[in-house]
Subunit: 343 residues, 2 copies
Amino acid sequence: MVKIILDAMGGDDAPYSTCLGAVSALEKDKELYLILTGRKAEIESELKKYSYDKARLEIVDCPDVISMNDSPTEAVKRKDSSLMAAYWMLKKEDDTCALVTAGSTGATIVGGQLILGRIRGIKRPALCPAIPNSRGGVTLLCDCGANAECKPVMLCQFAILACAYAEAGFGVKNPKVGLLSNGTEEHKGDPMHQETYACLSKMQGINFVGNVEGRDIMMGECDVVVADGFSGNIALKSIEGCGKMVLGVMKKEFSSSVSSKIGYLFLRKAIKRMRGQLDFEKFGGALLLGLKKVVVKTHGSSKASTVAASIANAAAIYRNGLIGEVEKKLAVVDFSALVPGEE
Amino acid sequence: MVKIILDAMGGDDAPYSTCLGAVSALEKDKELYLILTGRKAEIESELKKYSYDKARLEIVDCPDVISMNDSPTEAVKRKDSSLMAAYWMLKKEDDTCALVTAGSTGATIVGGQLILGRIRGIKRPALCPAIPNSRGGVTLLCDCGANAECKPVMLCQFAILACAYAEAGFGVKNPKVGLLSNGTEEHKGDPMHQETYACLSKMQGINFVGNVEGRDIMMGECDVVVADGFSGNIALKSIEGCGKMVLGVMKKEFSSSVSSKIGYLFLRKAIKRMRGQLDFEKFGGALLLGLKKVVVKTHGSSKASTVAASIANAAAIYRNGLIGEVEKKLAVVDFSALVPGEE
């Protein structure tokens, strides 16, 4: 049995999206057990609409809900909130494996650090989405926003975290790792990135291929792109904005004339496949890596299908031993020898 | 007469692309006079293929060509190269208005700083491309790679430079300026970006709308996005990579079956318009802003049509008084009062 906690109140359409997502995930995975945290009456009234295996779903009543506008450091004190109650349960109950939330990113990061806690040796957790690439696979971008200010040791650890995810989540052996910079040459970037380049080059157990540029993320030049959280976030959102604009222009142009509309009828299937290939959501959000258990943060706008995909993703990654993989990779690196000035 | 210097040897397809681009630009603008720098024999043999107004085109023989792999600081010493000879002429001959090059970005930046020189008061030049946005206009991204390390005063000046370009290049009155960060809230980013936020908020003559995210660049939330050159470069290239991937997937899917191929026939015009709307090259490359004269840097892979667009862009911006506009905007800001620690 894989026991996963779902923050049933997180996300714009919660608890509708989370309840339907939970039901759909239970249907697909017979080994799954779900604990939904949130306002019990609201959750029950949603769940009543569906038939599902009631023996594998449990509700923990939490009257409080953290909103996107709440300060993360204040929010972490609200133990009765659906998100923080989930974190406390994840910390205290040994048989819980993972948390899935579409709630506030800031509160998810702070709660993860302060309640659940980091894997021993890890300095900071990192957000890591899987971005579809032109080779038909995914590129993992780590960090994409948890840490606006980074030091070389943090980026070296992001490489370890994302490589473990590439292996446990996508079965990639010896993943290729690039460092996101403003050019491919070794001397590119500021001193922090130059130092990170030197450390990654020397690092045991990491298949470092050098600097990569923004365009290489979607071109799939490597499996893992290591980034400071500031520019990683900018890369991710620039890609999202571009994708959104292209699909918007396409929609407008494809309904602009009778001829276009006829063409669209013939191309419907191809366009559907295309949208599928460009769909960020199908991998079920970003992982918050570096914590003691698996935490999946999906978009606030997640639909039920994304919530279901996130739950399935969390279960798969837990089963494939993500946390153990991180610990194994950490054990072979002596950070004090690798990064000058680190204890 | 608008006298523009074209580095005829810069770019992957030079001098073929540059000569054809020059001929096409001369044809469209009867007030244009072009000086082509480069290997005279090669240029003449290209130009022989076309008919054009020979009274408005002059060749200056330069035996040396700077390659993409040459060190910019070494390259700047090579006075006989097509790029550096162009810069010297631009500096010394009062009636020259602008330079267009598809050559090495690094050498273009260093040559601009060391030979042509900066506008009085400007700390560093910045690269500024025009990116098509979903409102059907453009968003100017400044800096996108000339400065990997930035200070707040530099970013404040990038705002001035790009606003002058928005006005002189695209007729935008009182352009909206955003600061590229990892979230819209004021406290986002590292201390350098937080300080820049505070300075931009206080700055005279700048219509600052606050922080913007990567996705806002193509969504067209503002006319000018100010960025440090490191993350600006990552944003630009992430967008390029996404656009390239989407067009690649589209091409593959639209020829994947008989039905798709039929659909494509009906959609041909719509797809052409769509490509046009997403075409980065039609605005003729990025401006290298902050220098004493107009400098346009186009992609190394520029085709003749892009070279022609870049020349037309340079001429229009010169005619609309870009440099005077920058000087006017600079004059109203007291940087020593605005930015703590600046002289």
